[in-house]
Subunit: 234 residues, 2 copies
DNA sequence: GAAGCAGTATTTGTAGGACAAATACCGGGC
DNA sequence: GCCCGGTATTTGTCCTACAAATACTGCTTC
């Protein structure tokens, strides 16, 4: 995956650089960073730019600054684990398997609940979006087209929950998972196997049957998980 | 609840003030903020301090700055909904009922899954923490003591999942919910009613029975929900 | 009259210096 | 040995100046 917009502006670069260093553990927890003046010079930016970056990292819970004491890396329990940047940095640095496991667990937690909530609260417009995503999946002839439509389907279901916390959580998890593989990691031969299950999810949301929707989605994600296992063990 | 550390430093105040304005909708979405120089003067801070605050808000997805165009409020879909500050600002500004509903929904989503995961992956030490929290609940003689032990119990279960994403999500949701009421909103007469259920959760985590733990926790949260309804309709 | 192009003005981005405020640390006095 | 005040160090805040990007204006040209 190519990085888009690698260079936005200076403090953004500094944020990324320091963030990576901290999350990867190269800057140990509890350790003091060099004083601002020194660090700024070492990174060849002005103190102004450095400080703007540090305020952001501080807001993410990664560091803590106090006068005279300096700036130090905070304990992991204070990190905003659900921050998209923090998650991305972890994906880059952590031994993948353990972390992917956690991400997948979160996804498996959200999706069935989302399907149930969508069945309860979806509007007709939202249902229409889900339906058209389903139709795009049915019409897909390439793995790529399928993957795009699949993602759209899941996103539409999440939107239809009318709970922005849920959809936000999904998108954070999803983008982190995207680092490793696409949502539906299927091989090109059988990529359309999951279509009937998607139909069941759609249908039960249409008929406003929360529990049916939950179970259908549940089967989907556990199938998807076992598919992943197969794929990764190859 | 009294605000601790109301004044940490200037940019923190600016962050809070602007964040509130944006999330409450007083600064409309898409609207341009005054240019930095003007806004800084209007808030009686230096441009430097204002900018440090804006970088943080920008990292939270609330605003977006571009040269020549200026800074404008981004659409809600880009906001980091799971950011603790953003959540707190919403709690302050939103008509409560709808939002509380969403928060509760998230909690009900996490906890049973967490109980199941804890049953699968808890260490003996983590189990011991859960047990002692349970014992504190059993020993509680006041509503306050009960509430503290109850929170400790749930936190211990979350920790025992060994999935920091899950416990992080819980703590974010929980602190937002705390704005409205304590975890177990029970009246003083029957506050110990839920004790046997907590025992079931503990016991099934001890015996490593994920599905039993999930169901037990499920009953607990749905009981707690109906209790809440009763309480709020009074 | 329309289309393209260059110049200009405006706004954020970056730099660097100066001082304020907080506070850990050291040293002196009791 | 303990307390207390001074001092040095580090972040916090303010200010000014300029760089870079880019929307807009108006001119030129076909």
């Amino acid at each position: 995956m190519v990085k888009l917009a690698v260079v936005r502006n200076l403090h953004h670069q500094v944020i990324q650089e320091l963030g990576r260093l901290i999350v990867s553990g190269e800057l140990a927890i509890g350790q003091n960073l060099p004083r601002e003046e020194v660090l700024a010079e070492r990174m060849s930016v002005s103190r102004t730019a450095l400080r703007e970056a540090m305020k952001v990292l501080s807001a993410k819970g990664l560091i803590e600054s106090r006068q005279k004491t300096g700036t130090r890396v905070r304990e992991e329990m204070y990190w905003n684990q659900l921050d998209a940047d923090v998650l991305a940095w972890r994906c880059e640095s952590m031994p993948t398997d353990a972390f992917v496991e956690k991400l997948v667990e979160m996804r498996e937690l959200i999706e069935p609940a989302a399907a149930a909530a969508a069945a309860r609260r979806r509007t007709d417009e939202q249902l229409a979006v889900i339906e058209s995503a389903y139709e795009a999946m049915a019409a897909a002839e390439t793995l790529d087209a399928w993957a795009v439509a699949d993602l759209a389907f899941h996103e539409a279901v999440l939107r239809a929950t009318n709970n922005e916390l849920m959809s936000s959580l999904f998108s954070v998890i999803e983008s982190a998972l995207g680092t490793y593989f696409v949502l539906s990691a299927r091989n090109s031969a059988n990529f359309k196997n999951a279509l009937p299950q998607h139909y069941k999810v759609y249908e039960s949301i249409r008929r406003r049957h929360p529990e049916v929707a939950r179970q259908a989605m549940n089967r989907m994600v556990s199938d998807s998980r076992s598919n992943l296992k197969k794929q990764r063990s190859r």
